[in-house]
Amino acid sequence: MDRIAFIDSVVRKVAIEMGFSEDDAQDIELAAHEAVVNAIRHGAPIGGDASDPPPLVDVRIAVEHELDVPVLIIEIRDRGAGFAPEAVPSPLHGEGLLRPTGRGLYLMRRLMDDVTYSAHPEGGTVVRLRKRRHLS
């Protein structure tokens, strides 16, 4: 858990330094946290077992600009077999509402402006989180 907490704190610090509000910085931190947790939990290479070291997860944080508006980009890459985000049941309806799991992807989508998934050319999945700094 320590490395997740470390990544959380770095993401939050970058968001604050970029001028995001405290509220937005907390949202960004949580979205990144969810992506990293998913990468660790579900992103192990196939064929491993419990004695293997924790899976490798790459985290990349970048700042871009769109028409002078700063945009925070966080990319999280795992080494897993991939997944279909559209196949994850909605946590908002029916039995999903009281399920103990399954809210991570939804929270990421709600807390960030964009969330995209792609296959890394060298294997694994890259989750890309994006949020524009809104004018206050």
Binding site: D23, E34, P91, L97, L98, T101, G102, R103, Y106
Partner: protein, 111 residues
């Protein structure tokens, strides 16, 4: 995360402080399960001191609710910090849980 329990007017109050996240969220469910197994049917989670909850933490709060409900008990929440209130809203869990700002009101609601 730190958990302590007390009882007020027959309501079992679980005071939670710190973060409810992937690594520790099962502790909350264990505490509630102990109460349910002891026959307690009125459980109130005091979340005033909870500073951070991830999706696993939300899931554990839901599990606590289901655990109580399965034994015909009730589990309610009090003193949510604004961020947790937001998370419960966007995940529609605010439609599931009864929440209160004041403990006296929460305790009275179990009557």
């Amino acid at each position: 995360m730190a958990i302590s329990k007390r009882e007020v007017d027959g309501v079992s109050i679980v005071d939670v402080t710190g973060k409810i996240v992937l690594d520790n969220s099962h502790e909350l469910r264990s505490a509630v399960r102990e109460l349910v197994e002891a026959g307690k049917k009125k459980i109130l989670l005091n979340l005033e001191g909870v500073t951070y909850v991830d999706s696993s933490g939300l899931g554990e709060i839901v599990s606590c609710y289901s655990t109580a409900q399965r034994q015909e008990g009730k589990l309610k929440l009090e003193k949510l910090q604004p961020k947790l209130q937001d998370l419960l809203t966007i995940t529609r869990l605010l439609e599931v849980f009864e929440t209160f700002r004041e403990e006296a009101e929460a305790v009275k609601s179990f009557a």
